[in-house]
């Protein structure tokens, strides 16, 4: 099952998003760069998780899975 791969990607998204949110909502921490980098990273990995979910659906109907 490829679901566990998507779950792992989403776990990364969750941790990074929480990290970015903490730095975004507690400005006294003084590190806005964390919001940009890890927030951007969370969005990227969300996109990658979506790509993983969709990738298997794009194959043509005539092809047979190898494994």
């Amino acid at each position: 099952m490829k679901n566990h791969e998507i779950l792992l990607m989403l776990a990364i998204v969750a941790v990074w998003a929480v990290l970015a949110a903490v730095y975004a909502f507690v400005p006294s921490l003084g590190m806005p760069g964390y919001v940009r980098v890890w927030g951007g990273g969370a969005l990227l990995f969300l996109l990658l998780a979506a790509v993983l979910a969709l990738a298997g659906q794009g194959r043509s109907a005539g092809e047979t899975p190898r494994s």
Partner: protein, 568 residues
């Protein structure tokens, strides 16, 4: 100690099988081979430049060479820029593309993006080297405050890294598309452990490019008159700096997986899913653990300091887990083949293969490096150790001993397959990692001792008008001797790899020593496999010893301080 019996099956390199790494690389389309040769060559050029700059720096710090101050710091800048940015990022981009193409089995997808990425990175390489050699020396972090009156240096320096970042992102995009192709063709529904690791690594490379952009775009804009002075560069740099530490470490572990299978036929006995969790753990654990780099920052709040200190303990979780997976898989497989003896099974590994030798010694360096990394991450010790030569003392164990030797090991396997020629003098190359490690251990021991005594990181003349302790120059001379030894041995390895890259097809490639230890799952794991747990127990014991020694030292100093080196 016993070893694997002589009647145990020993096979030719697994690369000769239909699914082997080398066969897949050998059959890559010609444009992909050309691109990979270009990237591998550029990466090696960066390594050579960085190695030369580093050796000259070490000799100057040892008092064996004299440079004018600006020239000395330009050398140090060239060293850092070449090794920590261009060698490590170019080789990562090249390995990502090579391994992704091999996974795909049909070459690279999004080939124009891969070529555009290479062009951007090589342009960045040229820009960075030029400004490092001619501009105001900014060291590898390119701090704008060092050149407030020289915006050109700041801007061009930032431009180099931004081009590198853009190229990395483009290369990673090609790698991701390549890895997804088998799914899109319906040939598979999920990744293997290596495929998933490559996918996550590629994503992390893009995040690293975002971090580089975040750190250096403000400098470029300021230099162009389009933005304010980047006063927060130090903080933004820390984010990239932390990525710079752990991204290549993830790549290293991934290469260990690949090479272990190539050299022994062994894959994880714990299943691909655990390996995927470990590789995902790199991304989960590494970003939150970055705060320990900032323990000396006067603006770091107490809350962040406490959280950062706690999280830093988790920084080695994925690396140690991956180490345990690989070692237990190897040991259990060896024992299933009849190996006996506590550590004797290791003698059955194909040590005469230089890739194996490089990988094995890389593990030794990792254990030593981790020991001292965990002394450094303790917040209360930062006022004694941060910004001293302790830092380069320990991190060269990683940068050279672990990362560089591992990536050279990968090249020793891939280049003969890529170009069809033989590996240059494998018997000689197999002896170099022990010499590299010996030099590194001398460098690290003397450097860590010097740093603990307070020798600063980036000072060439440590005399201070006769006020510095007499031991300082002695220790730095030992650092210079260690650096010379590991640089000489590493140069032989690099020369061998470059010769192999350039050899073309003048002679047929021959398979080097490998073993075939793979056995059916039912025979695996009935015997104990103590090497992994004992190694980690020894590592933790060493961490305890050196951490306690450091605490004892800081408490024995003739000073009582409140404030911990940072402004509470």
């Amino acid at each position: 100690m016993d070893i694997i019996p002589q009647d145990a099956p020993v096979a030719a390199a697994p690369g000769r099988t239909a699914h082997g790494l080398t066969v897949r690389i050998r059959t890559l389309p010609r444009p992909d081979k050309a691109l990979l040769n270009l990237l591998f060559g550029a990466a090696l050029l960066a390594l050579v430049l960085g190695l030369a700059g580093g050796l000259l720096t070490a000799l100057a710090r040892a008092g064996a060479l004299r440079f004018y101050s600006d020239d000395a710091y330009r050398l140090l800048t060239l060293h850092g820029v070449s090794v920590f940015f261009y060698w490590l990022y170019l080789i990562q981009a090249a390995l990502l593309l090579a391994l992704a193409a091999a996974e795909n089995g049909r070459g690279l997808a999004l080939r124009p993006a891969a070529w555009a990425g290479a062009a951007l990175m090589l342009t960045g390489f040229a820009v960075s080297e030029w400004i490092s050699a001619t501009g105001t020396p900014l060291l590898y972090d390119g701090s704008p405050e060092l050149a407030v009156d020289d915006p050109r240096s700041v801007g061009v320096f930032a431009l180099g890294y931004l081009l590198l970042a853009a190229g990395l992102a483009a290369s990673a995009a090609s790698g991701i598309a390549t890895l997804l192709q088998p799914r899109r063709r319906g040939e598979t529904e999920e990744f293997g452990a290596v495929g998933f690791a490559l996918f996550a690594w590629a994503g992390f490379l893009i995040v690293s490019a975002i971090a580089a952009t975040n750190a250096f775009l403000p400098g470029l804009l300021w230099a162009l008159g389009a933005g304010p002075f980047p006063a927060d560069h130090g903080t933004e740099w820390h984010i990239l700096f932390h990525n710079l530490h752990y991204l290549p470490l993830m790549a290293t572990v991934l290469v260990w997986y690949v090479l272990t299978e190539h050299l022994t036929g062994v894959t994880s006995i714990h299943g691909a899913r655990l390996s995927k969790i470990v590789f995902a753990a790199y991304l989960v654990f590494v970003p939150p653990t970055s705060l320990y780099h900032m323990f000396l920052e006067p603006t770091l709040s107490d809350g962040v300091r406490v959280v950062g200190s706690l999280l830093s303990l988790f920084v080695s979780v994925p690396t140690l887990a991956a180490f345990a997976i690989i070692v237990s898989s190897l040991e259990a497989s060896a024992r299933a083949h009849g190996a006996t003896g506590f550590l004797g099974w290791m003698r059955g590994l194909p040590w005469s293969n230089p890739a194996m030798a490089n990988m094995g010694w890389a593990v030794v360096n990792m254990m030593a490096g981790l020991t001292f990394a965990f002394v450094l991450i303790q917040g209360d010790l930062a006022p004694m150790l941060s910004d001293t030569f302790f830092v380069p003392g320990y991190f060269h164990l990683f940068a050279v001993g672990v990362l560089t030797q591992t990536f050279l090991a990968a090249l020793m396997v891939m280049l003969p397959a890529l170009n069809g020629g033989p590996l240059w003098r494998p018997a000689l190359l197999a002896r170099m990692p022990a010499l590299v490690t010996a030099g590194l251990f001398l460098f690290a021991a003397a450097g860590i001792a010097a740093g603990t005594m307070g020798v600063p990181r980036r000072v060439f003349d440590i005399g201070y008008g006769g006020l510095a302790p007499a031991a300082w120059p002695v220790l730095m001379a030992l650092v210079g001797i260690g650096a010379s030894l590991f640089a000489a041995a590493l140069s032989v390895s690099v020369y061998g790899v470059v010769r192999t890259l350039l050899s073309g097809r003048k002679a047929p490639a021959t398979d080097l020593t490998a073993v075939a230890w793979r056995v059916e799952p039912s025979r695996i794991g009935t015997a104990p496999a103590w090497t992994g747990p004992v190694s980690i127990a020894a590592l933790v014991a060493a961490m305890y010893v050196f951490t306690i020694a450091a605490f004892q030292l800081i408490q024995s100093l003739p000073i009582a301080a409140i404030g911990g080196g940072h402004g509470h």
